[in-house]
């Protein structure tokens, strides 16, 4: 007998019944549409047990690795604990000690956190960092598991930012904060090591990209890796020394800082990061894309990348939406 566990309830799965039918039959409001494993409306995540491979048909690799599945074509042969895809409350809050705080430029703080419990994450995913129980913000992980001992965040100070301002002004090394996560599907997946990667980021959108690049290189990615980091002025660039060191060290890695405002400067491409990238690599067929930072840039670049030939399943994006309550 197979049981489906959802939000502390146990449901017995009928013979030949899908997880979708099982849950909706008991009144769980799982959204669905095609009921044939195509439209992905009934996307769910297994938080315990492993979903059958057939129930992950057509999903992005990053979702498969996190045990996402389609409920309408899921016929498990063993018990499964399931959750809605955006149900972050299933994750426990973990305390973490601030190991160091260091300004990367005038507005971005490098935050190093040591978790009190192990956290299983991939470079490029995000965590939520809480100022108090009801006030948290998402920050991307620039650190790479197995390469870095602690979690690394790049926190940009926002005007009136209630969490970023607190991190910049009040937080001190040695203090303990609470975090929850990880989440997000913008990260490197092994396999297809010769595929070209294009990474476009603005501002602190460099954080996930810096993690993803080092993750890919440490997993022996052999294809070309092009990073385009955009800023309006020269002060916005950071980690330039580290990135140039990587260029020296890896012949397949290329770093292009893109200056969108003011006069062009030596060593910088003139223009917005996405424009420069699409100019330099006009045909993106078979390339893997990573787009992080300003929501307008991410949205526009996603469409441009797709129209330039990138397949939808090869486009990974993380838009840094600013909370309305800052």
């Amino acid at each position: 007998m197979v049981n489906i566990r959802y939000a502390k309830d146990n449901f017995e799965l009928g013979e030949n019944q899908s997880v979708l039918d099982c849950l909706t039959g008991r009144g769980v409001p799982v959204p669905f549409s095609c009921r044939s494993g195509v439209c992905q409306t009934c996307l769910m995540r297994a938080t315990g047990g492993t979903p059958p491979e057939s129930s992950q048909n057509g999903l992005k690799d990053t979702l498969k690795l996190q045990n996402y599945f389609l409920a309408c074509i899921c016929h498990p042969t063993a018990d499964l604990e399931v959750a809605m895809p955006n149900d972050n409350d299933v994750q426990a809050v973990i305390p973490a000690t601030v190991k160091s705080l260091k300004l990367l430029n005038s507005e971005i703080m490098h935050v190093e956190l040591e978790c009190h419990a192990p956290i299983d994450y991939r470079a490029g995913q995000f965590i939520n960092l809480f100022r108090d129980r009801s006030l948290g913000r998402s920050y991307s992980l620039a650190s790479v598991p197995h390469e870095d001992d602690h979690l690394h965040l790049h926190v940009r100070r926002l005007p009136q930012g209630r969490v970023s301002g607190w991190i910049h002004e009040e937080l001190r090394p040695g203090e303990t904060v609470e975090i929850r996560g990880p989440g997000g599907d913008c990260f490197y997946t092994p396999g297809n090591a010769e595929q070209g990667l294009v990474l476009i980021g603005t501002g602190s959108g460099l954080a996930p990209l810096y993690g993803i690049i080092r993750d890919a290189l440490s997993q022996n990615h052999t294809g070309p890796i092009h990073l385009f980091h955009g800023s309006r002025d020269l002060n916005g660039f950071y980690l330039t020394g580290e990135l140039r060191d990587l260029v020296e060290q890896y012949s397949n890695f290329n770093y292009v800082p893109c200056l969108s405002g003011g006069d062009a400067a030596h060593g910088f491409a003139a223009g917005r990061a996405d424009d420069v990238a699409f100019q330099q690599i006009p045909n993106l067929k078979n390339w893997r894309m990573f787009l992080c930072g300003h929501p307008d840039m991410v949205k526009a670049a996603k469409k441009k990348a797709f129209m330039a030939g990138a397949s939808m399943k090869d486009i990974y994006a993380d838009a840094f939406n600013v909370s309305q309550s800052s």
């Binding site: 549409s33 009921r35 044939s36 195509v38 439209c39 992905q40 409306t41 797709f306 129209m307 939808m312």
Partner: protein, 124 residues
């Protein structure tokens, strides 16, 4: 043997849908007659919907009813969705299949399935 094959099998099944979906979605997005209906929608979600549509039009497995079609497009009908837009989608679909070297007889069959949803899509 070949006479027993369904349209979906003749087209190449799920692999054919996967091959067609990006091409079709690109055509739709660059088609000035209908692209405005796709502005502001999440591309990932939309790509999955396109895939469902193609699976159905290719004669593949689906569970869409006429009512689903009506509900799914009602908000677009309110924004002015009409016959010319359905025509455009069916044209883009045929162009996609031609690009994939599908024979005209099969293209006509796919077109007929897409055509059969017209009244439900337009809510009449």
């Amino acid at each position: 043997m070949s006479q027993q094959q369904s349209l979906y099998e003749k087209l190449g099944g799920e692999a054919a849908v996967n091959a067609a979906v990006d091409i079709f979605y690109r055509k739709v997005l660059s088609d000035d007659r209908i692209s405005s209906f796709f502005e502001g929608v999440d591309m990932e979600t939309q790509a999955a919907k396109q895939k469902s549509f193609l699976t159905m039009a290719f004669g593949g497995p689906h569970n869409y009813s006429g009512l689903d079609m009506r509900r799914g497009h009602a908000h677009l009908v309110e924004r002015g969705l009409n016959d010319t837009h359905v025509d455009a989608v069916i044209e883009d679909l045929a162009a996609t299949l031609r690009e994939l070297n599908v024979g005209e007889d099969l293209i006509a069959q796919v077109g007929a399935i897409a055509e059969s949803t017209r009244n439900d899509v337009l809510g009449r």
